[in-house]
Amino acid sequence: MSIFETRGITKRFGGLTAVNDLTFTVNKGEIFGIIGPNGSGKTTVFNMISRFFPITAGEIYFNDKRIDTLPAHEICKIGIGRTFQVVKPLRRMTVQENVMAGAFLRTGSISKARQKAEEIINFCNLENYKFRASKGLPIPLRKRLEIARALATEPQLLLLDETCAGLNPKESEAAIELIRRIRDTGITIIIIEHIMKVMMGISDRILAINFGKEIAMGKPQEVANHPEVIKAYLGEAYA
């Protein structure tokens, strides 16, 4: 059953077409991967979904409702959370306050927000850093905080933009484990990741794009072996 759908979405920045006529469907409960070389338009897709800028053409549906005309802050309210590739911690706020800021979307009460934050912080294994200012955290923890904060808004769909980038193998192992646990709670996930191995292991289906266009879509194995994907990643000679 589909929870999310794009129809021919396109984004142009002046003369540059960053995303070109992309159509895809995400099923409820799955982990849907998006891969593509640097600058291929992955983050732009997220920015289009979360309405950080208006889309040039196309339509976006969530739970069968059209959402590409909603203002940015409404996107989170209807149940789509996101993280940022370049992390954006609320710098001078503690980890707990960061997560509370997310929790306030569903409650007006400080104590309820704090309690919600407490649960999420434990779920994300951040309990030792609760009272640390977020700007002082090392990158792996800041990436984790991005996820925690988004989770606190109680999303049905979570957009994860390169949460494993810059992590060592052990840290990224832990991140993947967290992502799996998030999925197990029933949250649908769209994930962008550069590391093929990560994507192969975690995704139910993968969409590969290059220059903003779809080049392959399907099961991880199919996509990884697709000649266009190999060409995009390794160059003409390997295809």
């Binding site: 989170c76 309210k77 609320l90 710098r91 200012a133 904060r149």
Partner: protein, 318 residues
């Protein structure tokens, strides 16, 4: 968090404030205290918008002046008591804040500051030139019905107490968390479902309200205003920034501490140093801001937190 220690400190402060004019009974010194109360109110109001929500205003003179003129014009044209200005002034300040918020909050970064900077100056020029309505540069002089300094002191203290209480309640609610989130990263705030423009307005309106209240109170107390006084860029809009920076941006007591220091130091220098006072005072304020970048209350907060952390055996962080 309002823990027992904070509560105790607030009570001690309140008691000192209540008995102060009984101990200090020279009219000149009481005058200084009343000025401190007015500036603490403006500072606390500015702090909500610019300190907590991070929307730095260089135009709070607009709200102050509109508050003051509301009281003045009631008397000038309608022969009403200027005390009605305490109601009309803040309301008028909020009314002018509405369109300003609607326009200026579309702008990000330095543009908001520039827009507010222009705003104060526009009001000054308009009030200078609308002579029929405002008396222009001649200003408005009223006959105060009350001359006792003590009464103004307690009225001013009440005004500051209400301002402190309301801002405290806002800051320590969901709204406060949202305002600080917007200040720290607007994109992140939006991604968490925070309607940033709405919340900036929720900081602007009370900020304008209490600044207008202080303006109306000022008119009642000083009994004379002209546009160059109440819409003054340096003596109002910039001064409130310095007052809050001195005391501590985004702290509860910072603006009050800053106002007390600023006004009292300024007066001391003026009476003792003659014509060099502005220079010496300016340098001193710069030094304090350079060496205590978080302001007095801010630095105390940090020291307190470090001490608490040491006690709790936690490490790192700010």
């Amino acid at each position: 968090m309002l823990n027992k220690k904070n509560m105790l400190m607030t009570i001690v402060f309140a008691l000192i404030a209540l008995v102060l004019p009984l101990v200090i009974n020279a009219p000149y010194q009481q005058h200084i205290l009343i000025l401190v109360l007015i500036w603490a109110t403006i500072g606390t109001a500015w702090n909500l918008l610019s300190g907590y929500a991070g929307q730095v205003s260089f135009g709070h003179a607009a709200f102050f002046g509109v508050g003051a003129y509301s009281a003045g014009i009631l008397t000038l044209h309608y022969s009403l008591s200027p005390w009605w200005g305490l109601i009309l002034g803040p309301v008028m300040s909020m009314l002018i804040a509405l369109p300003i918020g609607a326009i200026a909050f579309r702008l990000r970064g330095p543009y908001f500051a520039l827009a507010t900077l222009a705003l104060g100056e526009i009001f000054r020029l308009v009030f200078l030139n609308m002579t029929e309505f405002t008396n222009g540069a001649k200003g408005i002089l009223i006959m105060p019905s009350i001359t006792s300094k003590i009464i103004y002191y307690y009225a001013g203290l009440g005004m500051l107490a209400v301002t402190l209480l309301v801002t405290y309640l806002i800051v320590h609610s969901k709204i406060g968390y949202y305002l600080v989130s917007i200040r720290e990263d607007q994109d992140a705030a939006t991604s968490l479902g925070i309607p940033t423009t709405l919340y900036k307005n929720l900081a602007l309106l009370p900020s304008a309200f209490f600044t207008g209240l202080a303006g109306a109170f000022y008119m009642n107390y000083v009994a004379f205003i002209d546009p160059n006084i109440v819409f003054n860029l340096t003596n109002i809009s910039i001064m409130v920034i310095l007052v809050v920076m001195l005391g501590g941006v985004a702290t509860t007591w910072g603006p009050t501490i800053g106002a007390a220091l600023y006004i009292i130091m300024g007066e001391l220098f003026r009476t003792t140093l003659g014509s060099a006072n502005v220079l010496v005072f300016g340098v001193l304020v710069c030094l304090i801001i350079m060496f205590l970048p978080n302001g007095i209350a801010g630095e105390l907060d940090i020291i307190k937190r470090i001490a608490q952390r040491k006690k709790a055996g936690l490490s790192g962080g700010v």
